[in-house]
Symmetry: C2
Subunit: 320 residues, 2 copies
């Protein structure tokens, strides 16, 4: 029987999204469940099975499915395990791929969520046909997927590609999750933009800003964006500052792997040129001659909800 369908599962800190994907990259049906309802992963799999198994049967026989691809925080492609994910309730090392194989009777492949997104871009998105590129998720945190010679960079242990944790302001802002100072994620994430806003407003108590109309709790990258497009100077400077740091980091990544394109996605990209222009400017200013004006920096054109499911499903198409 022809295997022409795949299942993509994106396990996020809050929500798990899943769907049926055909071999042209169309999502035939999708749904979601909360991720963190249970202390143990086996109960999560029960919840998932209750919704996903009927969905599988609505689109074919189990024999029509090539397998299950999963993107998960701290997911390890080599072992199929989720290891010490700080934002999940399940502790230690979870053999997620094996557990899914046993429950569903289908082969399962797992990688970290950022690598799954890179796979999605390579097969369905802006990096289609490209062999050397980097994807950067600018969301609550900063994730990354690196592709060299058409393959995801996994490193000797499966954990390569943690570019959000690289140091770009030594001795700088403390990252709350890791305790490390000056990492990219402490600045170029939604959380980082919020912190920058609080810092700027606190350090310049006499400056006018529309941002002062918001309570500290309501200061988000979204409110900074809304004030910036209304011409607010501090809000605009927050994006310039963020773009400067992101651009310097991108220059470092380019000098490592010389990618053809860098694909940005996630919440911060909603700021459009406000973030993109200073990012590109700072990147170019910090590149040596041989790399200047060569690397495209673009926003993903995949719908965010779809990208995660497509990327995860791409894991099993690749190994078909």
């Amino acid at each position: 029987m022809e295997k022409k369908l795949a299942i993509g599962i994106d396990i996020g800190g809050t929500t798990t999204k899943f769907g049926i994907v055909d071999n042209s990259g169309h999502i035939l049906e999708q749904d979601r469940i909360p991720t963190n309802e249970h202390e143990v992963a086996s109960l999560f799999i029960e919840d998932l099975y209750a919704k996903l198994w009927p969905m599988i049967l609505r689109h074919g026989q189990p024999e029509n499915y090539i397998g299950i691809g999963v993107g998960a925080p701290n997911g390890n492609y080599y072992t199929g395990t989720i290891e010490y994910a700080p934002n999940l309730k399940w502790k230690g090392i979870i053999p997620m791929a094996k557990m899914l194989e046993e429950k569903f009777g289908l082969p399962a492949r797992l990688t970290n969520d950022a690598n799954a997104a890179a796979m999605g871009e390579m097969i369905y998105g802006c990096a289609k046909g490209k062999k050397h590129f980097i994807t950067i998720t600018l969301g609550t945190g900063v994730g990354s997927g690196i592709v060299i010679d058409g393959k995801i960079v996994l490193g000797h242990d499966g954990f390569a590609g943690e570019l959000g944790h690289t140091i770009i302001r030594p001795g700088g802002r403390v990252h709350k999750g890791t305790g490390i100072k000056g990492s990219l994620e402490a600045y170029a994430s939604a959380t980082g933009v919020r912190e920058t806003a609080i810092e700027f407003l606190t350090n310049e108590p006499n400056s006018d800003s529309l941002l002062r109309n918001f309570s500290i709790d309501d200061l988000t990258s979204q409110t900074v964006y809304e004030c910036a497009i209304k011409g607010d100077k501090i809000a605009n400077r927050i994006f310039e500052f963020t773009g400067q740091i992101l651009g310097e980091a991108l220059a470092n990544f380019v000098m490592f792997s010389s990618p053809e394109v860098i694909v940005l996605f996630g919440g911060l990209t909603k700021a459009g040129d406000l973030i993109l222009n200073p990012t590109i400017e700072a990147m170019e200013a910090n590149l040596i001659k041989v790399f200047k004006n060569k690397v495209k920096v673009v926003f993903s054109n995949l719908k965010e909800a779809d990208a995660a499911i497509l990327g995860a499903s791409a894991l099993v198409w690749e190994t078909a």
Copy 2:
């Protein structure tokens, strides 16, 4: 006829070394010529031919040679060209591999000198049998070769792996060659150590130091080392400062490609533990949990003069 010999050529900014290498990695004979005697590369090739051709014939017939491997600054593996090398007299793009093939009648492969060194480590040195590692040359400048899945990382254009130019002190010391501020090479090179020495001595005019016995022209990484092992405090702090910056940069590289080992070589490694200890300490302090206490940082065990020739020759064995 059995092809059991290779020719390795290392084109350096001052000296070009070359030798005959057998298939067990022994250098049967080697010699050197100055690199920058002529404005045009064709005259350099005449000089090389005058010494290398008789050497080739002393060890066999041309048919016994598998080819010529070349390491050169700004060497591009994809095209076999040397492109705009700032420390060579020959301007523009030099089709070095093609020129050597025509002169010697043997196939030639070329890559940049740092990548050639990484090949040498993979085949003959500390990274033997390793599939994920990084080599860093701490010489007059800082070079690097990155190996992922057993292959040198070249990037989409052949220029990947310029880790010496990554930014580690944004807004910091200006790199004289590139004009970029705060790159690794501005600190963790022999030139950088000398500049740090001058800065420390200037900023602390009242401090005692054996380094004050040297004229500014005689302040080198070597004299700093000699004072440090005599217990000089400023000299020791210079290596701690250098190691701190190098270690932070290594942490960034680990979070990119998750290598099993990082191999350091070049002049600065003569400082031994004075540079290695603070480097490892700073690297570990800046790694997220999943990478901690996993990555070995070691000095190369290849003789420096041999490493360059072996690495270059490895280029042609690899494609055999």
